[in-house]
């Protein structure tokens, strides 16, 4: 059974905010507060000290990137606070800013808002981020893969699939489930990918592995 998380939500669209609360409660989490703008997020997160903050990028008062800024500020204030940022569409820049200044082992996620629709996957991402993983939207990964071509050409199609799932922050077990292969096969693919991309052999830590892959893709 998944652990129950203490969550603060910031989302300015009322319909969506209510929906998120409902969804998270449905999966057994506790929503401590649901607010609609950047300053309120800062205030409530400081007061409640939640396990996880889920925030929209664009919120009042400036309707710019208040949510993202607040999330980054909170993460610097509260080491270990997991943050899941929801964006209307992929902004590589925002994703990178978020991933670049992540501290310690705090979980960080950047997902397209529309992923909420896949409720079970979204709930899974929430749990993984809260557990300290890095979760990056498949769309971000897809764009990064499209950008870096040359050395990636050396990968087999299956290896590319594995790489994309790795970059999304999935564990070997999760990748194996997704591709319907054994974990051992996944480990073999990953070793081959790291070799071909000349990445240093990584620790078993999923999280650092994700960062290494993302760093490679962004380079």
């Amino acid at each position: 059974m998944r652990p129950s998380l203490r969550i603060v939500i910031a989302e300015d669209a009322v319909l969506l905010r209510e929906g998120l609360v409902h969804l998270l409660q449905r999966f057994g989490h506790r929503v401590l507060a649901a607010v609609g703008d950047g300053p309120a997020l800062l205030a409530t997160a400081r007061e409640h000290r939640p396990d996880l903050v889920i925030t929209d990028v664009r919120m009042p008062p400036g309707r710019a990137d208040e949510g993202l800024r607040a999330a980054r500020l909170l993460q610097s204030e509260q080491p270990g606070l997991a943050v899941l940022v929801l964006s209307q569409y992929v902004e590589q820049t925002f994703a990178e800013e978020l991933l670049d200044d992540r501290r310690g082992s705090a979980g960080t996620g950047y997902l397209l808002k529309e992923r909420i629709g896949d409720v079970e996957e979204f709930a899974d991402a929430v749990t993984r981020v809260a557990a300290g993983s890095t979760v990056v939207d498949p769309e971000v990964v897809r764009q990064l893969l499209a950008r870096r071509r040359d050395p990636l050409d050396r990968l087999t199609p299956r290896e590319r699939e594995v790489l994309a799932l790795m970059a999304e922050g999935r564990s070997n077990a999760a990748i194996a489930r997704r591709l319907v292969v054994t974990e051992a096969a996944v480990a073999k693919h990953i070793a081959s990918i790291l070799l071909k991309l000349e990445l240093p052999p990584t620790a078993p830590d999923d999280h650092r592995r994700v960062l290494a892959v993302l760093a490679y893709l962004r380079a």
């Binding site: 319909l15 664009r58 569409y89 529309e114 629709g117 079970e120």
Partner: protein, 398 residues
Amino acid sequence: MTPRTVLEALARSPLGYLRTVWPWRALGFLLSGGVFATAAYLGVGGLFTAPIGTWAAVLCAVAVVVFAAALAGPLERRRLALADRSDRGGGSDRGDRPERRNGLLVAGYGAVSVLAVGWMDLAVVLVSLGIPGFLLLAPLQPTASAWQAVAGPVAGALLLPVSAYPIGAWAGVRAAVTRAVLFPKDQELREVVRSRARLVDAFETERRRIERDLHDGAQQRLVALTMKLGLAALDLPPGSAAAQEVAQAHALAKEALTELRELIRGIHPQVLTERGVTAAVRDIAGRCPVPAHLDIDLSGRLPAAVEQTAYFVTAEALTNIARHSGADHCRITARCVDGLLRLDIEDNGSGNADPARGTGLIGLADRIAAADGRMLLSSPPGGPTLLRAEIPCGRPSA
């Protein structure tokens, strides 16, 4: 094309000029001013000979001069129509807008032109017409000899057409000066450029508004809808007819969301507003199927209009490269030096890009021109293609 000014008529066909209406227009132009000036001066002179006190005469004279000066401005513009038929920025059609814009200038110039220089107009007419006139009237002179009475009118008749030239030339020069003062061309041209820039600005504002409306409205509702459908699916028995229907509805709503996201993205990227052109160009290059090497060195933010234009140019250029060039990589370079943003987009494709063949490049050039910049293109057959945009960025140095 018919000549639009006296000077044009003179220059284009010196002999044909005599057969046109232009000499008469020139004469009318010069006389109208001269007659007005004469009337004004006679009015003032008459006052001082009138049986009223000196002070009253001075006051009346001042009044006459002020009145004449006030009339001179509008008169000057009407007179100009005689010697210069070219369009005066809509001045003659749309009422007296230029006059209102700089009424003092018009009145002042009119007063000087008619009351002071007007005498020269009159003198030119008198001298030009006086000599042939004197010769024509030679037979009437009591002292004229027989040969003078014959030769005089002949010489006068020959000289009369000649007088049309100094009159035309002087009228032309005077009209040109008047036009330069009252209807400065530079100002009109600047105005056009500014209004085009305003139009681009208005479009940009509108795009941003549409983006926000879609983002705040339709998109949020669709996300909420997919979430509700997703939750509903959880509670339905798997494999049931209802579960299948809900799953289909869920899939449809997600597709709609994806389409909407792409649409919004294309309208106005949020990152351009929040993080500036460097980040926005990096993002768009990241999405381009042709790998792009970026070399962008712009410290700080540029004016919004410049950033929008630079972003638009990059987006269009990358689309073109992906669609037509066949290139396997491209390079984007941007520098701001001496107040000029230079944006180079180079690819190793097949070249032969021709602005005449499609509207894309022309649209690009138009967009850059509206930002007061210019577009340069080098695309020999076989490539490579280099598109360069130079846009003033209102910054003295890099």
